[in-house]
Symmetry: C2
Subunit: 314 residues, 2 copies
């Protein structure tokens, strides 16, 4: 190894001697014997080809070269200390960044609460939330741009093997009706009733829309017979449309908590149909997992996870 002319230990010794004015005291300060100090300084002087200390007098005094070196020495050691502190902060989560991926729905209704909780405990970690499609989120996790993500949709097959996928929670996709709709009287609906409704849906690109379509189809419904009044591109717009009496819709329950509590929207029960999807936590097991990510997964996510999620099993 093409050698450096000094080591950090030598610089530490130099600093100590300069501060104490004595080899002996420096040795005591550093918990080594005095010859060790002498030797190191001799090596340093030999390698730099300068005299550093004037040992003549009562005190060990710095020569011109010594003073020059000491200046750099202090700067270098300060940088080292700073580096240590920064790393410690990172370890104790007083710094760093956590990047979380989510779909539109979880990103809008679930993540903000989770992140809020996380930041209560770790206010110095900056958290980024990336809302993208399931596919794109999956790739981002795969190549390390995102630490972890919660998705509701189906991943491309090749990613399924690459990523760790943990069932996280069940997201019910509730049928919501305007509160003055005539079907709100009925305790329970039947699948058949859906054909009588006008629907306001997410546009067909959306993951949630695809999931709903697939689930309805799987349950035996002929989805092309469902009347779609209009397609909107955000859940908020849909909720507003439903509340305005423009039609019914399937929306994630997490997105209507406030409306249900305020009685501004009606959630219908369907006797012979359950529209549910699995929310899944995805991470990349072959990548480095940041401390913040570990903590988020271990401490925050379980508080929102459904009871049967592996994350809950403490």
């Amino acid at each position: 190894m093409p050698e450096l002319p000094f080591t950090l230990d030598q610089l530490r010794i130099l600093k100590a001697i300069a501060a104490e004015g004595s080899f002996k005291k420096a040795a005591d300060l550093l918990y080594v014997t005095q010859p060790a100090v002498s030797l190191q300084i001799q090596n340093l002087e030999k390698q730099l080809e300068i005299t550093i200390f004037d040992r003549g007098g009562r005190k060990a005094l710095l020569t011109e070269g010594g003073r020059l070196l000491l200046e750099y020495c202090e700067r270098i050691l300060n940088q080292c200390d700073e580096a240590c502190k920064a790393i410690e902060d990172l370890n104790s989560l007083k710094g760093g960044t956590l990047i979380i991926g989510a779909s539109q729905t979880t990103g809008t209704y679930l993540m903000p609460r989770m992140i809020g909780l996380f930041r209560q405990s770790y206010p110095d970690v900056s958290v980024q939330l990336k809302v993208h499609s399931t596919r794109r989120t999956g790739w981002s996790v795969a190549n390390g741009q995102i630490d972890l993500a919660i998705i509701g949709g189906q991943l491309p097959g090749d990613l399924e093997n690459l990523l760790q996928i943990i069932p996280y929670a069940t997201d019910e996709l509730a049928l919501v009706l305007p509160i003055r709709h005539h079907l709100t009287n009925k305790k329970e609906l039947l699948k058949e009733d859906l054909y009588k409704l006008n629907f306001v849906t997410l546009d067909s690109q959306s993951t949630t829309r695809k999931v709903v379509d697939k689930l309805l189809k799987d349950s035996g419904l002929e989805i092309q017979r469902l009347k779609i009044e209009m397609e909107l591109n955000s859940l908020e717009a849909i909720k507003n449309a439903v509340q305005a009496g423009l039609g019914a819709s399937f929306v994630p329950v997490v997105s209507i908590e406030r409306e249900l509590a305020g009685g501004t929207i009606h959630k219908a029960k369907i006797a012979d149909l359950e529209v549910k999807r699995e929310l899944k936590l995805i991470t990349n097991p072959s990548r480095y997992t940041s401390r913040a990510s570990q903590v988020f997964k271990k401490n925050i996510l379980p508080q929102f996870a459904s009871l049967d999620s592996p994350l809950r099993k403490i």
Copy 2:
């Protein structure tokens, strides 16, 4: 020794890997084997309790902590490089300070030429010239405030043992007369003639004055019989006074080179009297000798030294 969490070598390895994106290539770059690199990084990671590299993929990628550390790493290594350069410059005399002491006379007439010569070769060394009394100069050399000095007077006894005193040159104190003075006709004067002259002298504090007085007295002259027209405090003033015809004076030959060449002053010979003093180089053998000081002593001084000076014996 309370340990530092990393060594400069480890930082160098870290930097190399980050640059090359590979442990192997970093190893080649640093002329070590690959396991050595692996081990050092492992130690680093253990000590800092962080993961630095993501070894999963094709390339060794930095983790968040790794990037953080690398920032400090680069700054630290840069400082180290700078320190090395500064020391090298000092060694090769591309920096540093040389502090030279001198009496009024040598400081005015000799040193400027020497320093000029020195700075031709070493323009980056800053040179300070301190003109003080012999006594004060001696003490400054003793306590290290001055690297070396040339003095013409007598040192206090205690300093004579402490310092290294090398005969350097003989400084003739020439009797100078106005060019129109009636004694300039004579080829050689005699001591007796001095009593007929009016003298313009340095004031009695001055080293040169004391030396001249002593030398004249030692040669048997009754100095109180010499007529002193006036006392001035600088050689330049004296030279002007002499040239103006106000009187004669003993002045160091080095101080009248220009005037002799221009024929504006007359230097008299005295048959039975030689007024000479030894200029001596003094240094402090028990103190650190700067590189600049060594060079000045070895290369510059001999060019101005008299033939019998030890400095000339190459």
